[in-house]
Subunit: 746 residues, 2 copies
């Protein structure tokens, strides 16, 4: 035990290494599966090349961004308790690992897709095994790299700033270490934003463009090899749903741990780990979650052709959640002492606690974690209800498709708006409950609990686009009906898991943002964020507006890029004779280039809004107004995220329902009927909602919170409240006394 | 002067009486115009009967509501400084006057419509005169009744509670008078909500239903006498855009004055009016605005067939705004003393002011009013930009209509979301600026300034649906082309004024809500609404969600009612032979009945959400959480209101652009082209957005603020923070000391 007490901090990256090792084994297994015959291999090659081309183009732009932002960070990081250029290194590492995680996932996904198609020629169980193992590689890679990165950097910064200086683990020294560590999260989340937005624009420009000309105008099926945009469409699944989603969850996972660590510093704990148990706890929980995700993944298997794929995934998911929950109870009991905790910020300088402060015990911490797990589960279930076939919301959309395009759209928008109610009530209860049990630390650790099985969640999420691609390759290679039937089965499950995954992602983002928000308040040294003040209220309004303009930029980018795609496809049909008779090959690469160029160009504006607006507001109007803006962006972002994701999901499944036939007022309707055409319109509108702007909301709210957290030390109220100009004049004379003031206060 | 100093309070209702007198003259003039021949008169009769049938059905339901709510208010009004059953009387008067204002407007509108058609047979200038005079009757009726009602009740309550008791005009006595007066606003706003939602559902169910079967399926023009839903459609313009809008602005107008008065009580003023100048000021400004609206209205005229109707309206509008602004400068200078003011809540019991408190002078008050006028004007201009033909946003939607229904929808949604940016920045700057100049009172008086020319605004707004109806009657009576041409000209201007009117309405609602929010904080006796507290943040989330569920209920109600309408119209086309050949008359009354029944049934749920949720949250979680919820609902409501109204307006004008022909990529497209069909889908989706849910947002946020203000005394922190149950046990023993505490504090 003594060994563990002293060395737990060094063991954290080991969890990550285990994850990466298992990942490597699984990746090798996938790679050695049969990749099918010449036609399939060629198509898969196009997809893999297109995906890599996008990543290369994206990385080129992002590397400029990382360099510029890194230099700015290094240059500006010299006040209060943030020491410095080191934060830039932290930032670059975070950015690199996030990009690398996306790359790993995409590489395996573009291998697993064609191998799943090939496996589907033999059996459903084999096809599930290949596609889910591909997903697992992604999940383990993301979680493993996150834990290794965050854990290692924490060891380094803790050693430099705290251990070697003999600094206070609850004070200035640890604050410095965590401030620098925040750069890691900033790097990860920045890349996540660009990857999500860029990938989202890419995939939907291709998808919408391919559908509008292919399905609607030319009357050829989806994933038809004659459609010039079909390769771009399949590439899109990889760059959007795999790389984008991977970077997104990498960012959430890291941000959650970081926020909990920052709040954990403010808890004086008389534990066996040198008083840093509350800081280490979120990382250890994540490590356990990673291990139990590996265990859970081994439960995912089916025996016969008629077994339920959804059930197999559910068993794996529940296994990992329940095992992690049980392990967490023992872990918290072991790590935290039997004391009563409170936050340092609640102490009154003379002694005692402020009125209304909250005290809690380790049992409260356990309860908070359970609240997080329950909130995550409920959010996924509610999302499933609102987007699943055969349930009231989707049936309502189907019924309203019978009176045309317009009523289909109205119905979908209404479903999306209505679907915000239960998630918000669950979230509000979760905030209330986790705070009740363990204060602000409780809110953060609830998010950490929810995110602990990220590896498993991501495995399930990434399985979807792999199956989707596998189906696409089967269709394009014109494989036998039964193969397509098996991949369709997997794809249908993938649609549901994609929806529930989004519910989970938005819940985790909301809790993470609140935790970051609480961390921000502490670091900025403010005591209230009073919305009844006119300037804070103005900030709230401006913050609430940002998700609207962000969404507008995303969906109009998709609209524009899709139009360019439509025109290119129409041109190819017109100018290249013989495409329709399979005699000539379409110029796939031109469509890939359109999506790539559009997505890279269009991801810049929304990205900059998220990065720059907190900096402007924070430095001009001060931390309290910035706090108001963050609250606005969080509330509005969560609402817009749920609204858009669920509306899109419901439209998608309403359309899919027509494939099997639906009954409206006693009549049966199938594909190509008028109601089906109306449902295709809804699905197309829903595409950018559910795969571009909707899921970007998560990252938007997290990123803005992290940016605020990183600049918070510069806005510290003990420094001043005044605009930047004035600040810079005084800065030299103020830094020293301010540092002193902060030190005294802590 | 001495006479004025003593009797100004009694002169306020006189302004209202002048308005009503002018209204009566103008109404008589409209009534004596020629109502056309038999066919026209018959159609107009159908419309008038349908409109009255709706009002009667609505009033029946609302009278139950008013009785129940009145009894509850009377029963519960017995704590702290709200004394009593009197608030119930105040509530009933407000409800009655609001309904009566709607009735007056609708009666004149259903007369003016056919008379405008008849006038259009002679000249455009005559048609404008009749339709605009009809609108003026509505505007003067609403403003006149509001001033008479509020002014008279204030005289009564001031006399009972302050003058007769010799009570403190800044203290308990005046607070009681204003608390009771808040019942008037509650009554007005409750009726407004039901009228707006009910009317909105009615008009759009009829409109969407008529369009889907008539224009799309049967291929007959809009307002064709063969369409069974056409009468319902024209009735809808009256019950939604006239009666609904009238009740809406009646509510805003009253709420703004009330909020300013409540905040004005907290200003110690050594003026010549017995210290109540800050309380009287908003009512006197409104009175002046009413007079100058009458003056402005006289400027609205054109001379020739080619004169610009828009320009004539603009001249009238600007005249009333500028004259009111100038008069207000003199008024404030005359009424307020040359002192420095502050709010009572900023005083420290021992003397001096709290840190960060704001002091201001009468010049600051003038500046704040100017800020309000500028904000209102800018909001209207921005709205016009985003919804006008020939501007970038609408042109973008037109271009994206060329690739189908889905891209048209995507473009419109993007425009709506984007259109939130400038209004929010203007609003945030307005909040910041008006607060800067005169504190919380400044925010309220800015709203009062903006609302001062309500009579003129409403005249311009109500002119639109009258012109629209006139066009409908011309089409249905198959009058000559030139008549329809003139009414189309008026109708086109009416569409623009409808859009700018919505911008104005949302701006006024936002500022009013903030003023009410500030008043609520004072009356509830809380010092902060700290969003960094977990429970307040949870309240913010729940509040933010309410506009989403409210919108979902509204638009799905329209969807459902429109489907019922579609089925009825299809049935009539199928079962009544000869409709298409003008040989048989459709059963108009069946369609009218469907709209009436649906709208009455569907308005209940959203209405109850708005009324009940603040009560539940306030009593269970206390005033600070309720404050968080109000902030959430205000921000999210303003955003959703702007988003939905502007998206709807832009879609509408994109569709209208096809009537004259539009150029896309070098080709011309007209009505019946594929892009035009796509634009009709957008217009239909936009209908419930812009005329049902969007404009209801205004009332939702105001009503929830007023409900909170009315219950605020019961939540007073000096009473307790605890849940209601606990409260009721203690209430008797607490009331007296609490009253004492409040008195001492003030």
């Amino acid at each position: 035990m003594d060994f563990l007490y002293t060395n737990l901090i060094y063991l954290i990256p080991v969890f990550g290494l285990i994850g990466i090792a298992v990942m490597a084994v699984k990746a090798a297994w996938v790679t050695k599966q049969d990749a099918g015959d010449g036609d399939m291999a060629q198509l898969a090659g196009y997809i893999a090349d297109g995906a890599m081309a996008f990543l290369r183009a994206e990385w080129k732009v992002l590397s400029y961004f990382v360099i510029v932002a890194g230099i700015l960070l290094a240059y500006s990081g010299t006040t209060v308790h943030t020491s410095s250029p080191v934060i830039a290194i932290s930032f670059v590492v975070g950015a690199f690992l996030s990009a690398f995680a996306g790359f790993l996932g995409m590489r395996i996904a573009t291998k697993a897709n064609v191998r799943t198609t090939q496996a589907a020629r033999t059996s459903l169980s084999q096809a599930l095994k290949v596609s889910f193992t591909g997903g697992t590689v992604m999940g383990l890679g993301v979680a493993g790299l996150a834990i290794i990165g965050l854990g290692s950097l924490f060891i380094v910064f803790f050693t430099i700033y705290v251990k070697n200086t003999g600094g206070d683990v609850n004070g200035e020294a640890m604050a410095k270490a965590l401030d620098v560590l925040a750069g890691f999260s900033l790097g990860a989340e920045s890349i996540a934003l660009f990857a999500r937005v860029g990938g989202g624009i890419y995939t939907k420009a291709a998808d919408v463009g391919a559908d509008l000309v292919g399905k609607v105008e030319a009357g050829i099926p989806e994933d038809d090899v004659r459609n010039p945009a079909t390769i771009a469409d399949n590439v899109g699944d990889n760059v959007g749903d795999v790389a984008g989603m991977g970077a997104d969850l990498f960012g959430s996972y890291v941000a959650t741990m970081l926020a909990t660590m920052v709040l954990g510093r403010e808890i004086k704990s008389n534990d066996m780990f040198g008083g840093i148990a509350p800081v280490l706890l979120p990382m250890v929980i994540a490590g356990l979650g990673l291990i139990f995700s590996i265990v859970g993944a081994s439960f995912v298997r089916i025996r016969t052709e008629t077994s339920s794929v959804q059930k197999a995934l559910n068993i794996g998911n529940w296994a990992s959640i329940i095992l992690t929950a049980i392990a967490t109870i023992f872990l918290v009991n072991w790590m935290l002492p039997n004391d009563t905790f409170h936050m340092l910020r609640d102490e009154i300088p003379g002694g005692g606690l402020k009125e209304g402060s909250l005290e809690f015990t380790k049992t409260g911490v356990i309860y908070s974690i359970m609240v997080g797990l329950v909130v995550g589960t409920l959010m996924s279930m509610i999302t499933e209800y609102y987007t699943a076939m055969g349930k009231r919301p989707v049936l309502g959309i189907i019924r309203q498709s019978s009176t045309g395009h317009a009523t289909n759209i109205i119905a979908g928008l209404a479903v999306g708006m209505e679907s915000t109610v239960l998630p918000i009530l669950v979230l509000a209860a979760g905030i209330y409950g986790s705070y009740h049990f363990a204060g602000l630390y409780g809110v953060a650790i609830a998010a950490a609990g929810m995110m602990s099985t990220t590896a498993m969640q991501l495995a399930i999420d990434a399985f979807g686009p792999i199956a989707d691609n596998a189906g696409g390759i089967a269709e394009m290679s014109r494989l036998p009906e039964e193969v397509r039937h098996r991949t369709d089965n997997l794809d249908a499950v993938g649609n549901t898991t994609a929806a529930t995954g989004k519910g989970f992602a938005i819940a985790s983002a909301a809790l993470t943002s609140l935790a970051l928000f609480a961390a921000f308040v502490g670091v900025a040294g403010i005591e209230h964020i009073d919305i009844y003040k006119a300037d804070v209220l103005a900030g709230l309004f401006v913050g609430g507006m940002i998700p609207f303009i962000f969404s507008a930029l995303c969906i109009s980018a998709v609209g524009r890029a899709a139009m360019a795609m439509v025109e290119e496809v129409r041109r190819q049909f017109r100018e290249i004779p013989g495409i329709m008779e399979y005699k000539a090959k379409p110029e796939y690469e031109k469509c890939v280039a359109i999506s790539t160029k559009a997505s890279i160009r269009e991801m810049v504006a929304p990205g900059l809004i998220a990065l720059i607006s907190p900096i402007i507001v924070g430095f001009i109007f001060g931390p309290e107004v910035l706090g108001g803006m963050l609250a606005g962006v969080t509330v509005s972002g969560v609402l817009m995220g749920i609204f858009q994701s669920n509306a899109g999901g419901a439209w998608d499944n309403a359309k899919k329902s027509f494939e099997k036939g639906v009954e409206i007022n006693g009549e049966m309707y199938y594909k190509k009927s008028e109601p089906h055409k109306a449902s295709v319109t809804g699905d197309t509108v829903g595409d950018p909602f559910k795969d571009t702007s909707g899921p970007s909301m998560n990252i938007l709210i997290k990123l803005m919170s992290i940016v605020s957290l990183v600049i918070a030390p510069h806005l510290h109220k003990d420094l001043n409240h005044s605009p930047r100009l004035q600040r810079e004049i005084h800065i030299q004379s103020m830094v020293m006394p301010a540092k002193q003031a902060v030190k005294n206060k802590i």
